[in-house]
Structures are given as structure tokens and as C-alpha cells.
Amino acid sequence: MKVYLLRRLWQSLVVLLGVSFVVFFILHLTGDPAAVLLPPEATAEDLREFRERMGFNDPFIVQYGRFLKGALRGDFGESIRHGEPAFDLVIERMPATFELSGAALALALCIAIPAGIVSAVRRNSALDYVSTTVALLGQSMPTFWLGIMLILLFSVQWNLLPSSGRGTWPHLILPAVTLGLFTTARIARLTRSGMLEVLNQDYIRTARAKGVNDPPVVWKHALKNAAIPIVTIVGIELGTLLGGSVITETIFAWPGVGRLSVQAIANRDYPVVQAAVFLLSTTFVIVNLLVDLVYTYLDPRIRLR
């Protein structure tokens, strides 16, 4: 158990080191970070001076070392547009993104898991067909189109819900539904197939043969075993949600990290982009480490390794 946890911790650190390198490397993709950071109308003299000042003439590894040292202290440089530290700008907007992703995930779990269980237990019933069809559509629907259609119906046509901004509960509904639908579809399909697999196992048949009634079989015997892949996918889906927030936040003018990043890329404000990518990735790594802890609780085989 201890060995397992230490190994997972070590792996996460290695992953974060890799992430930091990629984030650092984004600026160096074209070979000239000064040209990426300065506006296109900058003169050759400006470029030379800027390169000197930022240390872009140093060896690559020295530059990376400096970046890593800064990143560890939360220093990604100053935002070119806002003049504030890029790290602070991103951190300020983190709660909004967490609120949106959290709401989307909660919505997904509340709908998908019951839907998946009912689908599996009442296989080939009308409910199963409806739920699998909706899940299939949800998985095929582009987020941004769904968002626009929801705005068209609920904000423009019926004037029921606000189409942009953050603050009250109604503001959260449309963005959370938009962001959560794909994840809902994924988890519903996975729950259904996981439950079907478990329900066909011998121990379920044994339990039924012993005369255990249906609800306890489903809840105690089947769901506990089907839960393991669901927990894994929840960790991975959080990555989808954090990434998807980029688009959803843009559509609904949600003041989170995703929208900040899209604006920063349009403004060539790369310190902010770097800080945003790094912090969102770090969040993902930490959450998945926590998911693995839950895992050891659910599946004692891992605990005993």
C-alpha cells in the first residue's frame, strides 16, 4: 500500500515535470520566442533587445531551468496585456472554472449512473432504448453547437435563462448542461456496459439462486463491482471537462480560465497561456492521484499489492 502510494506520487511528479517542459516548449515552437511574444510590428532592434533582456540567447537547458524555477514559485512572468503576474490572473479565474466543471460533473453523475443502471437492469426495454439513444446523440453532438442551440431556445426564443455571465444559479444551468452532456453520455454508456458485464457473472447468479431479491443484487453485488471502471473514467473525464470549458466558457462568456486562455491566445499573451495550461494540467494530475486513492478503497486488490 505504502509502496504503491509512493510510486503513484513519484509518477505524478514525473508527469508534472514533463508537463512543465511542454509548457515551456510552446513558446519555442517557432524557434524564436521573441517574435512570438512581441507584436508583429516590432523592429529588429526591439527583438534583439528583448531577447537579451529575457535571456533567450542563453542555452536551451538554462532557459528551461529558469522557467522551471519560476513555475515552482508560481512565477510565469507578467501578462503582456494586463501587466499583472500571469499566475495571479489565472488563479483568480480558477474558482469559476471549478464551479462550472464541478456542476457539469455532478449533473453527469446524477443522470448517467441511474440511467446506466436502469438501462442494464431493464435491458431492451423502452427506457433502455431512450437512454442509449440519448447517450449516443450526446456523444456525437459538438459542445459548441449544443451551447448555441440552448441559447437559441432558452434565451432567445423563450427568454427563460440568461445566455452569458456568471453569478446566480440560473446563470450556471445552460453552461453546465452544455459542458456536461458529453460526459453524461460517456458515463451512461460505460455504466450500462459495466453493469451488464457484472450482471452476467456467476456470483450474481448464485446470489439470485439463493433467493436474494433484485434491489440488493443490483446495489450490493453488482454496482460495487461495476463502480471501479466508473471511478477511473470520472478522473479522465475531468480532463475532458477542464479542456471543454475552453469552448463552453467562450460561448457563455463565463469568466473562467478557459475564456481567459482563448483571449490570451488572441492577444498573443503567452505567459498567461503558459500559466493556464500548466495549472489546469496540474489540477488534472492531482485529481487523478486522488481518484487512485479512492480506487484503493474500492478495490482491495490494489491495497494489498
Binding site: 442551440m149 432567445v156 471543454g244 495550461v277
Partner: protein
């Protein structure tokens, strides 16, 4: 007396070799699934639309007509032809643009999947076959790749490099290999223990030859299922990038770009955002249905 039985296999042998017979049986099983067949038909229609676009549409997709802006579906144009799906904010025919928009979507889909598929296959084969340090290293790389919010990393990189068709293909292709690698690795791990592989190794087969002759052909099926389903994801990502203005640049029609235009006119011209989105939805749904059918036919236990 009937004809001698010996004569029959000789003539049949040419008509239906075992490989061909297996292939036919597979096709029959696949097309027996109605949803898979439906998906296949949808995908075929989209491919035909993309290839034959110039002959299919009445209007030029980039020809502007500022007098005929934002006309609702069914409006007759000056030339007498009908704008079946209406016109956009520059008076361009929406249907023509949607048909032509299938081109970048499919092109990016196929090309990016080819890149990530080959890359992932390679990583999966190496990690699964050699194991040990190699496996550790490659799987950590996969973890690093997975840690990034995909769209954000893609738009950051495209923002630096500048948007173009090639950039999009390469960026999506290079950053989507993990699914393939994981599935292929898993398959290789079990194949490696099988008797025919052990036998090939015992007979002195070299690693490269064993991988190419014995492992690769058997790892191909799960790979194909992943590739099909991943194509759907890539098409959504391509349209998302175009939506954010980081895809193929205007005036070339892209589904995502049309949606971005439509979003601006959402309160006055609903058709502008609705139809391009439906095009994406139908295409992606078709691919997903076909991919699901392929998985259920080839390898029902595959988790993708």
C-alpha cells in the same frame, strides 16, 4: 452416380480462399447490425458529398450576394434557383457551404487519424513487446500527454504556429496517439504469451520479424476500432478549432467557422447556426454507429 467429390474443392479453392471467405462472413455479420449499416450509409453519403461537391451544388460556396443576405431556407434567388437552407450574412448559399465544408472535416479526420494511429501503433508495439524500462518510459509519456486539456494545448500551439490545414492535422495527429498506444499495448501483452509467438521466438525469430509477422496482424483489429471511433472525435475537434477561428481560414467553408458566424446572428437567423451543427452531428453520429458496430462485430470486449 454423382460427380467425383475431389473435383469440387479444386474449383472452389480459387473462388473463395479462406481469407476471402472470412472477410465475407465479417461483412455479413457487420451489415446484419442495422445501426452499423445505417452509420456506414451516412458516412458513405458524406464522403460522396465531399468528393463530388462541385457537381452536387447549384451555388458557388464563396460567391457573395450582398442583396440576398440572411435569406431564410427556401428563398428563391434572382437566378431562379432555390436556397434550400437559406443564405448567410454575406448572401452565400448555406447548403453549398455545408457540402463543401465536408472536405476539410474529412481531410483532417483521415489525415490526423493516420498520423496518430501510426504513432500510437508504434508506441504500443514497443511498450507491449519489450516491456520493462521501455514500457515505463512510454507510458509516462502517455500520462504526460493525457494530463493536458486537449483543446487548450491545441489552440496554444496553433496560436504560436499560425493556423493552416497542415498545422491542424499535425497538431491533432501528434497529440492523439495515447488511445491507440494503450489499446495496442494491452493486446500485445497478451499476444506475447501466446504459443505461436513463443514458438516463433524459440525458432530463433528476430524481434523485428516476430513483431511484423506475428504481433502486428493480430493487434490490427482493436486498432481499427479505435481509429474509427477516434475519427469522430477528431472531426468534432477540427470544427471546434474552426469555431474558435484557429482552423482552415475563411473564405473556405468549414462547419465550425459557419457556426461561429451563425452565433453572431443567432437572434435573427436561426438557420445559420443550426444546419452546420446538424451536419457535424449527423457525420459524427454515422461514424460512431459504424465504429460501435465494428467493435461489436470484431471484438465485443474491447473497452473504447
Amino acid at each position: 452416380m454423382s460427380t467425383p467429390a475431389v473435383a469440387r474443392p479444386l474449383t472452389l479453392g480459387r473462388e473463395a480462399s479462406p481469407a476471402r471467405r472470412e472477410w465475407l462472413a465479417f461483412l455479413r455479420r457487420l451489415t446484419r447490425r442495422r445501426t452499423a449499416l445505417f452509420g456506414l450509409v451516412v458516412v458513405a453519403l458524406v464522403v460522396v458529398a465531399a468528393l463530388a461537391a462541385p457537381w452536387l451544388v447549384v451555388f458557388d460556396p464563396i460567391q457573395q450576394d450582398l442583396d440576398g443576405r440572411l435569406k431564410p431556407p427556401g428563398t428563391r434567388s434572382d437566378t431562379g434557383s432555390v436556397h434550400l437552407l437559406g443564405t448567410d450574412h454575406l448572401g452565400r448559399d448555406l447548403l453549398a457551404r455545408i457540402v463543401f465544408g465536408a472536405r476539410p472535416a474529412l481531410l483532417v479526420g483521415v489525415a490526423a487519424v493516420a498520423i496518430s494511429g501510426v504513432l500510437g501503433m508504434l508506441v504500443g508495439l514497443l511498450a507491449g513487446y519489450f516491456g520493462g524500462k521501455m514500457d515505463d518510459l512510454l507510458m509516462r509519456l502517455a500520462d504526460i500527454q493525457l494530463a493536458f486539456p486537449f483543446i487548450l494545448l491545441a489552440i496554444a500551439v496553433i496560436g504560436v504556429l499560425g493556423p493552416s490545414l497542415q498545422t491542424i492535422i499535425v497538431v491533432i495527429g501528434v497529440s492523439s496517439w495515447v488511445v491507440y498506444a494503450r489499446v495496442v499495448r494491452g493486446t500485445v501483452l497478451t499476444l506475447r504469451e501466446r504459443e505461436f509467438v513463443q514458438a516463433a521466438l524459440a525458432l530463433g525469430g528476430r524481434d523485428g520479424r516476430v513483431i511484423l509477422r506475428h504481433i502486428l496482424p493480430n493487434a490490427f483489429t482493436p486498432w481499427l476500432v479505435v481509429a474509427t471511433l477516434d475519427m469522430a472525435r477528431v472531426i468534432v475537434i477540427e470544427s471546434a478549432l474552426s469555431f474558435l477561428g484557429l482552423g482552415v481560414q475563411p473564405p473556405s467553408p468549414t462547419w465550425g467557422g459557419m457556426l461561429a458566424d451563425g452565433r453572431v446572428y443567432i437572434s435573427t437567423a436561426w438557420w445559420l447556426a443550426t444546419f452546420p451543427g446538424l451536419a457535424i452531428l449527423v457525420t459524427v453520429l454515422g461514424i460512431n454507429l459504424f465504429g460501435d458496430g465494428l467493435r461489436d462485430t470484431l471484438d465485443p470486449r474491447l473497452k473504447v
